[in-house]
Symmetry: C2
Subunit: 386 residues, 2 copies
């Protein structure tokens, strides 16, 4: 049987590898695994057997992306955040459907008009949170007439706690620091308010894990625009104490990006802190970790109060050593990528996942396909008449 | 009445100012207040009225010290620690009695032979701890046949606790960091053992203050050699939590003096940390602080078990705003300087204060003179037959 679907995966980090493997599972698929590091591309392609091929290419170069995208039916972006916007623009210009998890700092909706004009469907932020969480919020708020509360808690943590940080970064640690620095936007009384990141710590009990600490981070982004609610919050989860320590580091100025003069050189404190801190945060090969996601959507519809809760706890796959962060980020992306390939979602434009979540049956399909891959998302609904 | 005693005070920081003022109180005294910063010298001299004069001089230059010392009867060193040894050497070469509180990193006893050869009496480390604490230990151990335990607790802290550090450095903050880095030497079972600084934290209740945390620091120095004991420890006092934070900073590498490459420059992490941290540790004008010292000496003599406890709690002088650290460091130095001037201690050599403490009546005189200055050292003795 010949190749029916040609995929290209841009970026073969931890998550990219998982996506390559997943897309190559199906007969009739063929995946090009591209990375600036040839070893990384080869490693990813090897997970796809004879349905994948490695390409070494500098993906900061639009021309390289153009070459790869032009031979694919659907393109996947699993690049560092700083390359996200440029890759999105290039793939749109190539006229190819695109699914992205780069978590670019810029607002990808700026390219919505261009995508519409070219008839291209691009889904961005399509991992776990942002990603699955957004689909759940989009689905829940679409079911309600009035949304009173949206809160989700998310975190990826090592099983073994090593003081003082009790943390290992499952993805780019500089993106983690960015979460600790960028002020958090959330919704209270229907209005967007801003607080410093790491604010409002609270302890929560997570079944199968224990006591974690939740604090404000700036992850709502497109949800602030697309899903009106009286109250909306993203809380990031860490072991208790981590946030207090990070607040101290920040307040001392260790995360500052403003150059200071030290002796006879100028240095950005954050550059030095990263150099010292990140070796402590390196998730070692075989180190067990887990990913927690809990999404609560509350509101009213047709005289009934509804509370919809989705919960997920995923762990490192003990057989393959594949991290839960790679699985829970990569699988939603791979699942949506197949939807783009088979035309189940094909509208032109740049879409955050909450828009997909509103489509009838789409969230159910994503949850069902996650379950096939061993990632269980439990859903419970409470209702009471007003 | 003419001048009977000419003093020179090298260094007019917080403590130097207090010493100038104290030495100039007595009729017949005249004090030269010297500092590289003319303003600092003038400020100190102004506290001595018409019995003091300011001299601006670079005290890193032995020739400058020689000029000032040659016109004094007794010289006082209140210099930064890095200038301590060189000043000691120069004053000895000038043949002048010397009392020093610079807390030099080097071992001043290396100059003992030279002081003896020149017939010069020099007392070093003559502040509070090292200083008063050493006199108390020297006095206590001289009274005992066998010393089972010497432990002293010392700390200077702000009255108002400001998170996260709850600390303000009453003296050079780089000397504080050095205390957090240099491994602590102490005595267990009669042998010197070494532990990382900030080890063995324990909570203690300090009357008039509350709960503080005590941890190991490397302040025993000459006591390790001069006062044999089965057990001997210095514990530094901070508000609870400070030490844990400093251990984290140290373990991350923020106190490291080894250059690392950041971007295209090389930088010592400690230099950057100092630049960011020390503004948070600056004791502001008028900010109230206090100094705690508690010294326990236990042992046996003539069939009796003795436990001798000295306790001191001194606070910022509300009238003058003079800090307790300046008072408790400067007064022992000024008191001993007068002893050098009136010949009550005149033996040639370089002496740490525990040697002075062994002299009959000397500690009592120091304690009595501290009391005159409003610094109360309470002594209690428990005895029981063996």
């Amino acid at each position: 049987m010949g190749v029916r679907r040609r995929f290209a995966v841009l970026g073969c980090g931890r998550v990219g590898v998982t996506i390559v493997r997943d897309l190559a599972r199906e007969a009739g698929s063929f995946v090009v695994a591209a990375d600036v590091h040839e070893d990384a591309a080869r490693g990813a392609a090897s997970r796809g057997g004879d349905r994948a091929r490695a390409v070494a290419a500098d993906l900061a170069d639009p021309e390289a992306i153009r070459r790869i995208a032009s031979e694919a039916d659907v393109v996947v972006g699993a690049l560092p955040s700083r390359l996200g916007l440029s890759a999105l623009r290039t793939v749109i210009a190539c006229g190819k459907p695109y699914c992205d998890i780069s978590f670019m700092a810029e607002d990808p909706s700026l390219l919505d008009g261009e995508a519409r004009a070219r008839g291209v469907c691009a889904v961005v932020d399509c991992g776990v949170a942002p990603g699955l969480a957004n689909m759940i919020v989009g689905h829940g708020t679409a079911e309600l007439e009035v949304t009173d509360n949206v809160t989700y808690w998310v975190g990826g943590l090592p099983r073994v706690r090593r003081p003082p940080f009790e943390y290992k970064a499952p993805f780019a640690p500089s993106d983690v620091l960015e979460e600790y620095v960028r002020p958090a936007r959330f919704v209270e009384d229907g209005r967007v308010v801003v607080a410093p990141a790491l604010s409002n710590p609270e302890l929560i009990e997570v079944p199968g894990v224990g006591t974690l600490e939740a604090f404000d981070t700036d992850g709502l982004r497109s949800l602030l625009v697309n899903c009106p609610a009286r109250r909306m919050r993203e809380k990031t989860l860490r072991y208790p104490g981590h946030a207090a320590l990070m607040r101290i580091f920040r307040e001392v100025g260790l995360f500052s990006e403003e150059e200071i003069t030290v002796g006879d050189v100028k240095v950005r404190p954050r550059d030095l802190t990263e150099a010292l801190l990140f070796p402590h945060w390196r998730l070692e090969e075989g180190e067990r970790e887990f990913t927690v996601l809990r999404v609560v959507v509350e509101g009213r519809a047709r005289g009934v109060r509804r509370r919809i809760v989705h919960e997920m706890l995923d762990e490192t796959d003990p057989a393959t050593g594949e991290s839960s962060m790679a699985r829970t980020t990569g699988f939603p992306c791979a699942i949506v990528t197949r939807m783009l390939a088979d035309g189940s979602f094909a509208e032109p434009g740049v879409f955050p996942p909450e828009i997909l979540g509103r489509r009838s049956g789409l969230l159910d399909r994503v949850i069902a396909e996650l379950a096939e891959r061993g990632v269980d998302v439990r859903r419970s609904v409470q209702e009471e008449a007003e």
